[in-house]
């Protein structure tokens, strides 16, 4: 399994739980690296049930949204499931304004998300 710099990866039951190292996800280089690490979970590690827990994230830019969209597409193509949780209200508003809350499965808390897999 690859070493990760932008994400912390753990497993609960059969679900891969991902938390983010950076509180602010906005610089281009960091977002590229983050994207590569997230994609590797699907493409190299064959993870099929993935939960992104945003509890540590204070800010993310629209470039980061692009990586999440691509990750969601890769997971769906692999017949997997992707969920998100613990998103702070301001970031949740970003998802709502862009209507990405229709694309992503977003839950309030990790426990709720885990039980929904």
């Amino acid at each position: 399994m690859a070493t990760h710099r932008r994400i912390d990866v753990s497993k609960t039951n059969d679900v891969t739980v991902v938390k983010f190292v950076d509180k602010k996800i906005l610089d281009e280089a960091g977002i590229q690296e983050l994207g590569a690490e997230l994609f590797s979970l699907v493409e190299q590690d064959n993870r099929r049930s993935i939960l992104l827990n945003f509890e540590n994230v204070d800010f993310l830019s629209s470039a980061a949204l692009g990586k999440l969209i691509t990750l969601d597409r890769k997971v769906k193509q692999a017949q997997g499931r992707l969920k998100m949780s613990n998103i702070r209200p301001e970031i949740l508003e970003v998802f709502q304004v862009t209507k990405l809350n229709k694309v992503f499965d977003i839950r309030a808390e990790e426990a709720e998300a885990l039980s929904a897999f």
């Binding site: 906005l26 280089a29 800010f59 629209s62 470039a63 969601d72 301001e90 508003e93």
Partner: protein
Amino acid sequence: MADQSATPAWRISVDLPSERGASRRVTDDLLEQLGLHGWSPSDIFAIHLAAEEAIVNAIVHGNRLDPRRTVHVECEISADKARIEVTDEGEGFDPGAVPDCTQDDRLECPSGRGVMLMRSFMTRIEYNAKGNAVLLEKVRHPAEG
């Protein structure tokens, strides 16, 4: 009596290089000042998001990352308003022609949300006629309680 809200409590004017990550040279100071002037976390988030999107657009799309070009940024914080002006040296664009990223056929496009986010999170945004300068304003939310 003079309108106190018209006198900026803080102002900065800077020319940024057209390189990725350059926005931090402005946003770090801007966010610190907003905090020092008691702006709410949600207002600070909104201003940060809009400033970031505007500056990145100017660097990447306006100036096309050309190292010979700069992005001029002016920020002002007054008692009830934050104002950010971002100007690039590119040819400009028509913000009205940006596709609606919330349409079903564009919802899963990985880019194209910056202008929309700026409009949604700021009180006012205005492009100049050429499309290479944008003014962002945020009216401060009244304190709760």
